[in-house]
Symmetry: C2
Subunit: 275 residues, 2 copies
């Protein structure tokens, strides 16, 4: 008897992953948290019915959330990750030896515990002495950290429920204030095929605060449409003109110099929306 | 009662599309041909259980199979499409007023008939006076057409069953001989996430004949992994150095100049395989 986990990606569209066993099924203070051992893509983490990550395809999302801003910033030393309790983004950030402090602020401690148990290749990053983990709400954390970070990476769930406030002006203002004068932030931004209007609205919201706003894209196999968008808001640097790879190479599966440049190409249907 | 069509994209991975009704279900001389009216993505064509195209996401595949070689070639006038019975690739090719002849050689006439009936926005291209449709095997057709085409686009099904021979040396030699001295061909090339070894082998096979071989990528929402690869084999031109957009703009939903350049960026995992 085959066992399948299905995610409704869109009304009328489902992605199914066959699994061998369910490893975890709990209701945390904030969300329903499930972990499955899938046949094809390794362990799978699900929050409130939405695929968060699988061991086999997580590298796309985590590499592409992290490295474009790190290579764009002139001299990044202090990074904050909001969300990201699985540890994958933290692992990517810490691949760079010049990063001195990587703080992670995750509201749900049970996500961190599940990552430690079921996603060791992601959560290994928690052990790095440069990493510091805060289990608390990102809003309060940002209020205590003014003008401190070079880069802030928002590794949050989709803009529904608890996470909806992470895609609004109030939050971006706090991000802005917690960044130094040449700071950059990046946030996952859904997909341009099913969520074009959301992306256009997000662009306008961030553009009110940050002078430089960019979208870029990456495959993420298990996310709706298979191509994921990221929004970068930057106070000073431009990811095409200012990117600097002399910082040193790192080991990746997807990201490299050409992917960096190419990922900022805007699909025609999006380009016409944000002009 | 919900009705869903599921495609097994990989062992252990399924994409599901909800449908309102099945519009066609026949066994042709070559394959099982089904058409569904889906809830979210318009009409869906399925061959031997594999998703070929949907009305809503077909533009990715058809734009990206066609335009990169057309803008790369210095002066393309004669184009051959092998397969492509739905008409989508032909429609894209004919958007360019400088294309004088567009031949389409599709082995299965019933695919063409189904396209005419259920995919009018694709098959409208059949009416263009510059289009000529041949219902026959591509191998025999190529043997009759030496040194004739500027561009050949192979719009075939996956390399299994009847279509497997379209990914072998014999076929690429025929393609080579049917192209003029500065000809270019493009073929769909699966995906780098699940089919990395296939892609590396295909690259080596084509590289034995064509001096310039490139991979490029596009989202295709309903194809396995969500990101699709194309292989371009070129006798002379380079798609980055020789691309020329002064040919004139066309109306597209995905393709544009920046997408052209960006699409040729190789993911690190593929780059290390074909070096």
């Amino acid at each position: 008897m085959e066992k399948w986990f299905f995610e409704v990606q869109e009304p009328g569209v489902k992605l199914g992953l066959e699994y061998e066993e369910k490893l975890l099924d709990i209701q945390t203070k904030y969300q329903k948290l499930e972990v499955y051992k899938t046949k094809r893509l390794g362990n799978l983490m699900v929050l409130d019915g939405c695929i968060m990550t699988t061991e086999k395809d997580e590298f796309f999302y985590h590499e592409m959330l992290s490295h474009p801003s790190i290579y764009t910033h002139k001299d990044p030393k202090k990074v904050l990750i909001i969300g990201g309790g699985d540890g994958g983004t933290l692992r990517e950030v810490l691949k760079h030896s010049f990063i001195q402090e990587a703080h992670l602020c995750e509201i749900d401690g049970e996500v961190i515990e599940a990552a430690k148990k079921f996603f060791p290749t992601l959560s290994e990053s928690f052990k790095d002495p440069r990493a510091k983990i805060f289990v608390e709400d990102g809003f309060a954390f940002l209020d205590r950290s003014k003008n401190y970070y070079d880069i802030i990476l928002v590794d949050a769930t989709d803009p529904i429920g608890e996470a909806a406030k992470l895609y609004e002006s109030d939050f971006f203002l706090k991000i802005y204030n917690s960044l130094k004068d040449d700071g950059i932030f990046t946030i996952q931004a859904e997909n341009f095929f099913y969520k074009l209007n959301f992306m256009a609205d997000l662009y306008k919201t961030v553009k009110k605060l940050f002078p430089n706003v960019y979208f870029y894209f990456s495959p993420v196999i298990t996310y709706p449409s298979g191509t994921w968008a990221f929004l970068m808001g930057s106070k000073k640097y431009n990811p095409i003109k200012d990117v600097n790879f002399s910082k040193g190479d790192i080991s990746t599966k997807y990201y490299n110099r050409n992917i960096h440049y190419g990922s900022f190409s805007l699909p025609q249907m999006l380009k016409s929306m944000i002009k």
